[in-house]
Amino acid sequence: MKSENSLLTDVLIIGAGPSGLSTAISLADKVNKNGEKKRIVVLDKGQEVGSHILSGTLVKEQALKELLSKEEFENLPIETDVISDHTVRLTPEGFSTLPFHPPYMDNTGNKIISLSKVCKYLADVAIQKGVEIYAGFAVSNLIYENGKVVGAKCIDTGVNKKGEKQKNFQGGSKVFAKLIILAEGSRGSLAKKVKNKFALRAKSNPQSYSIGIKEIWTAKEGNIKEGEVYHTFGYPLEGEEFGGGFIYGLGDNRVELGFAIGLDYKDPTLDPHALMQIWKQHPFVKNILEGGTLTQYGAKTIPEGGWNSISKLYIDNLLIVGDSAGFVAMPALKGVHFSVTSGMCAARCAYEAFKADDFGEATLSNYKKLIDNSRIKKELYPVRNFRAVMSEGLFVGGFKFGIQLITNGFCLLTPHMKRDSLYTQKLSNFKNKPFKERFAGKLEFDKKLTFDKDSSVFYSGTHHDEEQPTHLVVKNIEEFSRININEYGMPCQYFCPAAVYEEHIDKESNHSLKIHAENCVHCKTCDIKTPNDAITWNTPYGGDGPQYQNM
């Protein structure tokens, strides 16, 4: 089993995002401090560390301060300090700035960072401490021995669309490790498999997600100040769905902005990318962007189910950290500090496991205790029902959340959460105005302020080797046609922010699905929101996917 194309390590961390890198740094510190030697290998599927990192990040620095030494912390690449923070309510025509901050949303004292830049920095810090980081390597599956995870296998490359080996075939290397940390980010494909295989969700709610679309612009001089922060709610959503926008002024006239919407929406034809474009046409946003140029585009999902959606996070030889675990505080729109904290908890748990030389579930259950005693529970538990009530819409939800704040999260009727895909209604059941009618006249994109999906995707820099089996797997084509196309009108063509899914109509008016996998920006919305859970997102070749810079 252990062949030439395999390697051995003490710890394998899958994903070089904030949680994976924090795990690596924290563990390396403990090991080095005691003069020990442990091999720590971190893999990332992005071409470089940071290529697949996207976040609209106003970071709470405390967690990073705990992770890093004073000197390391002082050298963190910070974009700018938040100088003003406004919550703005948008109506179709106008806007008003709230005179107060909604609870948990005050960002005074926080910093604006580029998470991909910070991850690059953290990777350098980790390498200095002896951690090995390899970017451009995608793990396709975990290796099991006697029912226990013992390693992971990288994806085979040099395989054509039909799955046949080509002359440039390269078998994926196997990595055997005493302990494996899944730090894949939102909706990790391995974490999903592990959670299903070991029924880790038995005692928790399903995870619920938002999709966030983000753009970076170079704005006209003077349109926004460095450090100016706006969060918007209201238009183009009207209380029906949960979501809103953000606009952060960076230095050199750069501005980052994004729009997020909860994936528990009902309209099968809702298009989050179009929503972002519609939002940009609102005078409040338009005034900032007009005359500027789009430089980058991207999208990702955000796990926001909160405390009640966190599954069991440990099994024999394996821990789950960060967004893969679901550590995001929704009312505050923050998760990076939790990622760091969860990485530190995992590192502590790992270090103790090494001392005991035991990586069994019982030893690793220590991870849960550490999480329960950390800021993660402290911050997440009181708002545990926030997202659930918000699926009832912003107004009703907002009222119920108000009650929770007074009662430390108590909710009279504990809301029941279901998987996001189950909220989508069939075309025949959806009685409200469909998306296209609701926003008629706003869906022509001028390629200056607003962009169609194909053009937007260009700005993500995404690229996939055309010669590979599609990484987006449809469970059953016939069933897809019957349920997704006929009954739901193929929602994936609308919710996908990267024009991956096309409804193809042939001469005989037959409708079928065409997949443009090469456009994928790895947001994984299709894995979450497709009715009948018909699409599975697997990882494509390592190094493929978006090329985010400073997202």
Partner: protein, 645 residues
Amino acid sequence: MTTIISLMKQVPLPSQMRMGEDGLMDRTKAKSIINIDCSFALEAGLQLKSILGEAKLIVCSMGPPSFEQSLKKAISMGYDEAYLLSDRKLGGSDTFATGLAISTMIKHLGFGKGLNEDFIIVAGRQTSDGDTAHVPSQVAANLGIPQATFIEDVQFQDNHVIARRIIEGGYQILKLPKPCTLSLTPTGIPPRRPSLVGAVKANQAKINVLSVADINLSDEKIGLSGSPTIVAKVINIKSERAPVIFSKGHDSETLVENLIKDMKTGKNTLERVEKKVSKAKVAPEDYKKVDFRDGASGILTWAELANGKITRPSLELLTPAKNLATSLEEGTKVRTLLIGHNVKDLANELIYHGSDEVIIVDDERLEEYRILPFSSIFAEVIQKYNPEIALFAATTAGRELAPRTAVLTQSGVTADCTGLEIGEHIDRKNKKVFYPILESRRPTYGESKLATILGFHCPQISTARAGTFEVPKRDESLKGKITTFKPKFKDDDFITEIVKTVRGDGGLANLFEADVIVSGGRGTINDEMQLVKDLAQALKDQGINAEYASSRPMVDIGISEYARQVGQTGKTVRPKVYVAIGISGAIQHLAGMKESETIVAINTHPQESIFANSDFGIIGDYNDIVPELIRQVKEGFTFGIQKGN
């Protein structure tokens, strides 16, 4: 055991290339990758190893220390050792000096001392930041070993390399002995992804860094002082398009008729608000005038043959050759070297197109072009006639023959020129004026810049891009001299065997050469692009070099082949006329065709972005407009393109 030496260059991502004030490349800011062609060469090396069963794989590069990351990548793909020639003194080296430095490094590693060594060099065809395709030929020439360039497939049989070489309109199978140099096109087996185990090995590997002193190369042979050519000037090429002219009318007949009229009248032109070029610099009186030609005189061109005929690009060459001769002293001769078998009759053709003297080399072994004897013949002829300028068409043959010849005559070469003029060079530092000198202009950095290159050694050698210059008018009253030349061959000149030459209709290779490309997009799905193909065929029937292509959706659906895909993930083409039918104009597609000379778009939606990037447009339905266009083509409308020969 065979050693495979892969030459590799790291290049900035094409989208991030910029140039320093001095006209030299500033590589410090852009993200870097292994040059695409070189990555195919790396794979070819790995493939050769798997055919041979056993081989040592070495990767060599020359450049700043940052190149180490790409050398490590080569190791992660399966290479055993990596060497980097890195020295500040190498800065500013042109291709001649680069070829010399790399071959000296290879010699330093213990190769290239004789013809019986067991090694094969694989290199990329050309680099994306230089586009010259010179270095592989120059390395081979410096080492004195056989070469084959523009190779897309490599096999190994009977202790010989079997290489499939792309030529205009077809291919050639060559059989080469070891040692030899191969340059690979990016059309063969795509580079493999590194394995993680390979990456771990690369992470621990040591890159052997060599300095100029380490390889015993003297300083004056490298860098600016060792380079026979310099970049004298670089200007930006603007590629914005003037507003489209929409055809007027309400029915397909009128629309097409008006398109024909509009195309005759000419496209809109952008009003350039460019600064006037500052007045020609005048050298101060006291500067010393230098005529470095030292007795060299005349212009030598090569008459390339294909299927027993002189190729069109070789006739085109006579236009700049004659113009240059006119700009020089009276009596400056244009001589053309005609190499082949039983080619006497063709000599007059060259004279009718303006050559003053045709030098014939006739030998039955020279019926097909082969690099080794041809380059030795050129070196001998150059020695005898001492021309000041030598011109080759920038064909697959010209682009290897020129640099190989240049090494033999110690000259610089400028690749793929679109402008050739006589000018002067003012050297302020040394207070000298060089006159007359050949100014070779070539587009570079992804066609975004126009560089002027000067050479200070005779002959000044340039290759000219096919299709840039007009074929001179044929005039049977022109007189010229026909001379026969008997070269001294070496046996080794015929060491490479041509197994087969196939020059057919050429098919897909034609996409790069076609004068007219008819391209179909999503709007042509109904009949699976049939009308698009019919239009291309109708043009071909009219004697036009036309080909059809498509945008990506058509390839995805399986209506068109990948080889015909134009765009960011497909091919980049620049035909004289690009006819975009039913194509919306996604940025990805525009990236592959926006450099076309004239763009005609047909689409039902006036707001599609293709129109913002076109010269002429018809708003109308594919199924109505295209049949009408085909009818007009059959009656002689050829989008303003003259029939080829």
